[in-house]
């Protein structure tokens, strides 16, 4: 029988309220779609600074991909979950489910 999971085994990059909400929101999009920065901010309800900080951490881990198009006031940033990010999110939800089933 497999040993029960502990909370420490949950991906620490996702297991944080703000980043969990970011990743869950991006995972609700169909594969191959991206969300604009303002829309993501509106849906998550974080300040731009907080959102940028969390997105940087996720980007460094290869979980999200940000793409900037245009210049100046016409610039637009889109954020998408990478394949690695989607896979990490699925692993996280599975681990969470297993953990709660074991509690």
């Amino acid at each position: 029988m497999a040993a029960p999971l502990s909370a420490q085994e949950l991906d620490p990059l996702i297991h944080v309220p703000a980043r969990l909400r970011i990743v869950a929101t991006l995972a609700a999009l169909p594969d191959g779609d991206a969300l604009s920065f303002p829309r993501l901010q509106d849906m998550i309800g974080l300040t731009p600074g907080n959102l940028i900080t969390h997105l940087r951490k996720l980007e460094e881990a290869g979980y999200v991909d940000t793409e900037k198009t245009g210049n100046g006031s016409a610039s637009r940033t889109s954020i998408a979950l990478t394949r690695a990010g989607r896979s990490a999110f699925e692993t996280y939800t599975e681990a969470l489910r297993g953990l709660l089933g074991g509690l």
Binding site: R21, T47, P48, A80
Partner: protein, 218 residues
């Protein structure tokens, strides 16, 4: 990134503090449901609205034709109600869909455009074919009764059923198939009754679909 001038704002408690697995599960569930609801281009509200629109539009036409012997077709007033309610609903659909899809880019944006073009062509063909029936001398009962009431459901519904089945979206494929069956069966009720049968049948179908989606997304 947008808003880069805000990067010096503090991040609350770095990562927001300890997260209990139960809290994480609740947050995950709440966020996922909220995101799906806000990104849904076919919210239940739209379908509740559509059920009311089709009931009013087809019901008005049925009231104008139900005592016609022989059948002449809907009165200009009934047609005005039919087209104005459909136009108002189409505007509402565009507004809701724009709101749901704002800020989304990528593969589904392209897919929606192609989808829109293909379905616009299918809709146009329904009315081109109606012109051909008129041109060939078909009776008023066919050209202004059975065909315009049932053909949109059978033709557009058939295209939608095939498309949704190819995408393996069985909920929508089933709904589209039900619309096709309704259109085909209602056509047997005659040029006047077909409006009433489809008005009630489609309103029930849409209401049931909206109810199912509300229940699934609760």
């Amino acid at each position: 990134m947008n808003g880069q001038n805000h990067t010096h704002e503090p991040v609350a408690g770095d990562d927001g503090g300890e997260l209990d697995p139960r809290e994480a599960a609740a947050l995950l569930d709440q966020t996922t449901r909220g995101a799906r609801r806000r990104l849904d281009p076919h919210p239940p509200l739209l379908m509740f609205g559509a059920s009311l629109v089709i009931l009013v539009a087809y019901g008005t036409v049925w009231l104008s034709v139900r005592n016609q012997h022989p059948y002449n077709g809907p009165t200009p007033t009934a047609l005005a109600v039919l087209y104005s309610t459909i136009a108002a609903w189409a505007t509402f659909v565009v507004v809701i869909r724009k709101r749901a899809t704002s800020g989304i880019s990528g593969r589904s944006e392209m897919r929606r455009r192609r989808e829109g073009i293909a379905f616009a062509i299918v809709w146009a063909v329904v009315y081109v074919f109606q012109g051909a029936l008129h041109h060939a001398g078909a009776s008023h009962a066919i050209v202004y009764g059975i065909y315009p009431a049932s053909a949109p459901l059978v033709i557009v519904g058939g295209a939608a059923a095939t498309y949704e089945a190819a995408r393996e979206d069985w909920e929508w494929a089933g709904f589209a198939c039900a619309a096709v069956v309704l259109g085909a069966v209602a056509a047997y009720t005659g040029p006047a009754s077909v409006w009433g049968v489809i008005g009630i049948g489609a309103a029930v179908l849409l209401f049931a679909r909206a109810g199912t989606r509300t229940w699934l997304h609760r």
